[in-house]
Amino acid sequence: MSALQDKYKQLIDAANSSGISNLQVTEQDNVLHIDGDAPNGAAKDKLWDIYGKIDPDFRAGDLILNVNVAASAGTKAKVTTDSTALNIRKGPGTDQPIVGKAAHNEMVTLQSKTNDQWWLIKTDSGVEGYAYAQYLSPQ
């Protein structure tokens, strides 16, 4: 086991035991990459909690934790902004025009995942567009 895998052992063990699918642990240029799909938001949060305990300032620069929630079309997701409304945009990018907003804590429906950053969503009031995945928590 490499020094990096040893340092992040607790994280790798947790990833193995919390049902992360397509889990890959690789090393490239002294950076450990952990990739996979989490079954839910809680599993992802758990990994980030552990990461935050090992490196509280996320400053070591020796880990890329790319574990995202695998959510399928039709899944309900909660808007988890700090307090503000979430912009819904015409296309996947902050340079795209805003077509609507979803309120803080509102439930929206996932239509499709463009990538790990942008999801196509639809609100209950019928507004459809792209929202930033970081502010959506699949239920």
């Binding site: 690789t26 240029d29 620069g61 950053q117 930033y132 970081q134």
Partner: protein
Amino acid sequence: MKLTKLFLAVFISASTMFFSCTPKDSDVQAKITEKFAATPDCAGASATVNKGVATLTGEVKDDMCKMTAESTAKSIKGVKSVINDLTVTPAVATPQTTTPDSGLMQGVTDATKDFPEVTATVNDGEITLTGNIKRADLPRLMQSLNSLKPKKINNQLTIK
């Protein structure tokens, strides 16, 4: 009392007879080694035999091979039980493909939009962060940036 002694005598003689029929450990071990050599799946496995107990050690390529080696050893006459201490060679994972700078740049712009005091630069697949951020906001920013699959993140932010 007499009966017990009799049973004991019968047992001892029976077991002596039984053991005398058992093949020698060294012969059993040689047979297992021979069988392993003839089975490609068992490459890397070796066995030692002690009182009919075969202990398998070494490294095989997958779980299937580990099972094959165990059943191969069990099939040899004289093997009473098998201790399977074989390890499986970890699969060599393909290196992650990291995102090229052009794709990263757009993603970084999106991820830092809500953090006006954060400046992010992208160079050769690495993201470098400078400026200020609130501690409470740091995990969210890091999660966004990690999901962009950069080669590395250099966090030089001042955490408030």
